[in-house]
Amino acid sequence: MSEAFISIRGLKKNFGKNEVLKGVDLDVKEGEKVIIMGSSGSGKSTLLRCMNRLEKADKGSMVFDQHTIDLGHWTKQDIRYVRSNSSMVFQGYNLFKHMTVLENVMEGLVQCKGIPKAEAKDIAIHYLEKVGLSERLDYYPSALSGGQQQRGAIARALALKPKAVFFDEPTSALDPELVAEVLSVMEKIAEEGVTMIVVTHEVGFARDIADKVVFMDKGVICEEGKPEQILYYPRNDRTKEFLNLIA
C-alpha cells in the first residue's frame, strides 16, 4: 500500500449551530479516483471546500502531498501550497465572465504559474482541444452552453497540472442531455492518472471510474469501499435507502 496522498483526520465544521461535518476521516492515494456520494445536506461539498480552504473548518488535520495542515488554522503558506497544487471544478462552472474561454484557461497559467503568454496560449489550446472546445476559443462564457462552459472549466482546472482536482457536483446544474458530454471528458482525464475527488450523484460514472466510493450522511462518512461493494452490496441502511431512491 502506498502512503496516502491526502489524509484527513477529525474534520469538523459548523455553520452557526448547524453541525455540518462531525469528524470526517478520509484517505486518498496518489492517482486515486474517489467519488463522494450522499444526499443533499450531508456535507459532501463542504468537505471538498474545506480541503482547499474555500471554507474554513473548525477542527481537524490534513496531510496534502506530505505537507501537514491544521485545518482550523491555515497559514498563508498552507493555502498557497494546496491551491497551487490542486484545482476545482464547480457546480456553477464559474468561468471568468469577462474573459474568453482561451483567456480563462490562460489566466491561471500566466498569473499564478508565471508562464509566458505565448507558451500559456499553446498549453491552453492543447487542453481546450482535449475537452472538445477548439472551435470555441474566442467565445465568452455567456455565448456557450452549460456543457461547453463546464468543459472549459475542466480545461482551466487541468491546464495548471494540479496534483489533485476537486469536482464539486460538476453535472448537477446541467440539462440531462449535456451531462454525458461532461462525464465523457471526465472519464478521459481519469485515465491520465491525476488524483480526482468527485462529489456527484452519477452512479454510472462512479461505477466506471471510481477506485473508491465514499458515502456520506449527516456529516459523517457512513460507508466507503470499492464501487461494486458500495453500489451493489451496501451494508449501511442509509446507503441502501439513498441508492434505492436514485436508482
Binding site: 482547499n52 474555500l54 491551491r83 476545482m88 489566466e107 491561471g108 499564478c112 455565448a143
Partner: protein, 233 residues
C-alpha cells in the same frame, strides 16, 4: 430694451466657453478621478471591515452625504485657509488658488456618493468568480485586480456616468468660492451689460451640451465594457 437680445446671447456663448469652460472641465475631471479613488478605497474598507478605518469611513460618508455641497464649499473655502495658516506659519495661503480648495471638497463630497456605487458594484460580482480565482491559486490582491474589478467596473459604469454628469453641473457651485467657471463667467458677462437672462441661458446651453457629450461618451464606454455579456463573441 427687448425681452431677449439674440445678438447678445450669441456673443455670450463663446465668451462663456472661453472664460469658464476650462475651469469647469478641469474641476469635473479632477473631482471625478479623485472621487473614484476615494470611493473605491472607502468601499473596500467597508467591505473588508477594516477596524478603525471602517468607523471613520462611515462617519465620512454620512457627513458628506448628509450636508449640502454648498455648505461644504463654504466651510472649506472659509475654514481651511485659517487652519493651514495656523499650522503652517511659513505658508503664504493667499498664493493658493481657490480651485485647489474646490478640488478637495468636491472630491470628498462625490467620493462619499461614489463609494456606495463602488461597494454595490463590487458586491454584485458573483461569489463563484472569487472562488474560482482562489481555487486556481490567485492571491487576494490579484483576485481583486484581475477578476473582481473588471466585472465590477462594468456594473458601476451606468452609475458613474450619472455622477459624472452630476459633477459637471455641481461645479457651478464653485462660483461661490470665486472660481471662474461657466456659471461665474456668465454672471460676469451678464453684469457688464445687465443682460443676465441671456448670459445665464448661454451658460445653461453650455452645460447641456457638455452633459450630452459626456452621456454619449459613457454609453460608448459602457457598451464596450459589456461586450462579454452579448450572446456572441
Amino acid at each position: 430694451m427687448s425681452v431677449f437680445d439674440w445678438q447678445f446671447f450669441c456673443k455670450a456663448i463663446p465668451l462663456v466657453l472661453k472664460d469658464g469652460l476650462l475651469n469647469t472641465l478641469n474641476l469635473t475631471i479632477v473631482t471625478f478621478v479623485f472621487a473614484c479613488v476615494i470611493g473605491l478605497l472607502t468601499a473596500l474598507i467597508k467591505i473588508y471591515k477594516v477596524p478603525v478605518l471602517q468607523q471613520i469611513s462611515i462617519v465620512y460618508v454620512s457627513f458628506f452625504r448628509g450636508t449640502p455641497l454648498l455648505v461644504q464649499i463654504l466651510i472649506f473655502y472659509y475654514g481651511l485657509p485659517g487652519i493651514l495658516n495656523h499650522y503652517f506659519e511659513n505658508l503664504d495661503i493667499s498664493r493658493i488658488p481657490p480651485i485647489i480648495y474646490m478640488y478637495v471638497v468636491f472630491s470628498l463630497c462625490y467620493g462619499a456618493y461614489i463609494s456606495e456605487v463602488m461597494r454595490s458594484a463590487i458586491l454584485s460580482v458573483d461569489k463563484g468568480q472569487h472562488e474560482a480565482a482562489y481555487s486556481i491559486g490567485m492571491s487576494g490582491a490579484k483576485v481583486l485586480r484581475r477578476i473582481v474589478f473588471p466585472q465590477a467596473l462594468s456594473n458601476a459604469l451606468p452609475n458613474l456616468g450619472n455622477y459624472f454628469v452630476d459633477i459637471v453641473k455641481g461645479t457651478s457651485l464653485a462660483f461661490t468660492a470665486t472660481v471662474v467657471e461657466v456659471l461665474a463667467s456668465a454672471k460676469i458677462i451678464g453684469a457688464r451689460d445687465y443682460r443676465f437672462f441671456e448670459a445665464y441661458l448661454a451658460a445653461a446651453l453650455v452645460y447641456w451640451i457638455v452633459c450630452l457629450i459626456c452621456e454619449v461618451a459613457f454609453k460608448g464606454v459602457e457598451k464596450r465594457s459589456r461586450k462579454y455579456e452579448r450572446r456572441l463573441a
